[in-house]
């Protein structure tokens, strides 16, 4: 089980920055900017949340297998494919939370900081980000649980290659297929615990919101 666990942790470590930066950025744009096609973007971003993972995986397979330039990158059925598979369904969760978080920050605080002589970057990191903190952390907890538990898309575009692209969820699937329930139990319990703690973290963040 150590092999798949290590793969899973590496995937999580590499997909988290993608999820946070991409999801946070999309959430910020949706919360603060007005532009044509905003509605379409918000729908597209949410799409991976409700599509069956096999469908998302299928389109990614076409994208990376058929598009001339992407095809030669050789992403499919390798470790990078796992990172992509983990990120795609998790980014919408992060974007949703970030959008809610940034919308909740009264823009008067940012305006006040601007008139106090601070530039946009400084305002963002000292005012906007700390005030949206709770929503962002809740989004982070939920999206990392989603990334850690990613199964369908990974299977479609990264395969289930032991030692290379076999993550914990895929490992459980393989163990059950060979009727090796004892090993499946260990991995399943680990993932269930991770899921529970992420929900617990979200709950704590929500309860502390009023303070």
């Amino acid at each position: 089980m150590t092999g798949p666990l290590l793969v899973s942790l590496r995937v999580l470590a590499l997909s988290l920055p993608v999820i946070v930066i991409l999801g946070g950025w999309i959430g910020w744009i949706l919360a603060r900017k007005a532009f044509p096609g905003k509605m379409l973007l918000s729908l597209l971003v949410q799409l991976p949340l409700i599509l069956p993972p096999s469908v998302t995986g299928f389109y990614l397979l076409l994208l990376f297998g058929k598009t001339p330039f992407l095809r030669y990158l050789g992403v499919l059925f390798s470790f990078p494919a796992l990172v992509i598979a983990a990120s795609v369904p998790a980014v919408p969760i992060m974007a949703q939370a970030a959008r809610a978080g940034f919308s909740s920050v009264n823009s008067e605080y940012e305006d006040a900081a601007r008139t106090l002589g601070k530039g946009e970057g400084h305002v963002f990191f000292t005012i906007t980000l700390p005030l949206a903190r709770r929503s962002l952390l809740a989004g982070l907890a939920l999206s990392s649980a989603r990334a850690l538990g990613e199964f369908g898309v990974s299977l479609m575009i990264a395969g289930n290659i032991p030692g290379l692209t076999q993550t914990l969820p895929l490992y459980i699937f393989s163990r059950v297929e060979t009727l090796n329930f004892a090993q499946a139990h260990g991995a399943a319990l680990l993932l269930a615990l991770a899921g529970f703690s992420s929900l617990y973290a979200v709950r704590m963040l929500e309860e502390g919101r009023g303070r």
């Binding site: 605080y109 305006d111 900081a113 008139t115 106090l116 002589g117």
Partner: protein, 370 residues
């Protein structure tokens, strides 16, 4: 010092402003929706005007012709928001330290500002743990710590009641005097106007109606003109002195004599202002509250104007003075007031605001006007 001339529109609201201000306190005065707050946003750079020019001292902040538009951070214009906008996740000290450059001096300077605003001991409180007046002073300290060249105040007293208002106004006058920073203050209350400003900029429906030095309000014969521009409240010019019987102070104007409640120890030439909502109408059949006894007048209803939940009544006394009174729409229904009805009303001494001529100008050199 400040020259502002710009046009700006949001939706179908159009703002056209033009005024000059020296090293003094300007008061933007006008009814709600006149464009006062928007004027402040444009000056501070938070809203870009469509045309015009804004010059502060030697610096061009905005010029359509020269394609200059400094961002808010480079304008050195402080803005005290109506809602104060204290950062809720920072303590009083961190709020005040926010505009200061980082370094060893930062904390010390912030502490000095807090001390100056009489906020010692409250350094570690969050804004939610401070009272309304304390929050106001923290916000003021923060705005001043940035060392602005111009300070804008958007209805700075709107959240405060009588005594706090007065003490904060005094504070502002003191700060203006000490720092010499020109200020523009938005208000729709005549009381603030008289005690703070040295120049009045009257806005209505997005236009600058009139700009005049506050001194003009004191000129003989011009009261009608200047105060009509403001258009609200009861204001009389005259003398404040000890009453004939030696008890308390009285005001004597041309046709009015009033016993005063709060205005003690300020004899001299002065102005009294009575906010319309302090005036009480009297029921003929009911005994009169002792508090209402001193200043009772009788007059005829000239006009009643219903706006929203309040009704404004214009009452003309036999001396020909027209008083404005304002009440919740449901009050005084039994009196069945209509134009021509006779009614008695009282001006409670405690509701009369007054200024002695010198006080309004405290800390300023008299403005130059012909």
């Amino acid at each position: 010092m400040l020259h502002a001339e710009f046009t700006c529109s949001i939706g179908d609201f159009f703002l056209e402003t033009s005024f000059n201000l020296g090293a003094e306190t300007g008061v933007l005065f006008g009814p709600s929706g006149a464009g006062k707050s928007m004027t402040l946003r444009v000056l501070s750079g938070l809203k870009t005007p469509s045309d015009g020019e804004i010059v502060l001292g030697e610096r061009i902040l905005f010029s359509k012709a020269k394609k200059i538009n400094l961002p808010p951070r480079d304008r050195r214009i402080g803005l005290l928001f109506q809602g104060l906008a204290l950062f809720p996740h920072m303590t009083a000290l961190q709020n005040v330290a926010y505009p200061l450059p980082s370094g060893r001096e930062k904390r010390k300077k912030a502490e000095e500002w807090l001390k100056r605003m009489k906020l010692e001991g409250l350094e570690d409180r969050l804004p939610s743990q401070l009272s309304g007046g304390q929050r106001q002073r923290v916000a003021l300290a923060r705005a001043l710590a940035a060392e602005p060249e111009l300070l804008l105040l958007d209805e700075p007293f709107s959240a405060l009641d009588g005594p706090l208002r007065r003490s904060l106004r005094r504070e502002l006058r003191r700060l203006q005097h000490e720092t010499g920073i020109p200020m523009i203050c938005v208000t729709h209350q005549a009381e603030d106007l008289c005690s703070l400003g040295s120049k009045v900029i009257v806005l209505k429906n997005g236009r600058t109606l009139d700009t005049f030095p506050i001194e003009r309000l004191w000129e003989k014969g011009s009261r009608g003109e200047a105060w009509n521009a403001l258009g609200w409240g009861n204001l009389f010019r005259g003398t404040i002195a000890r009453c004939g019987d030696g008890a308390g102070f009285c005001f004597t104007g041309r046709n009015v004599r009033l016993a005063l409640g709060n205005c003690t120890n300020m004899p001299g030439e002065g102005v009294v202002f009575i906010s319309p909502d302090t005036i009480r109408l009297l029921y003929p059949s009911l005994p009169i509250d002792p508090e209402l006894q001193p200043n009772i007048f009788s007059g005829a209803v000239q006009e009643t104007v219903l706006s929203g939940n309040t009704v404004r009544i214009y009452l003309e006394t036999d001396d020909g003075i027209v008083w404005q009174s304002e009440h919740p729409a449901e009050s005084y229904r039994e009196l069945r007031l209509e134009p021509g009805s006779r009614v008695r009303f009282s001006v409670p001494p405690s509701g009369i605001e007054c200024w002695i001529r010198g006080e309004a100008r405290e800390g300023y050199s008299p403005p130059n006007f012909a």
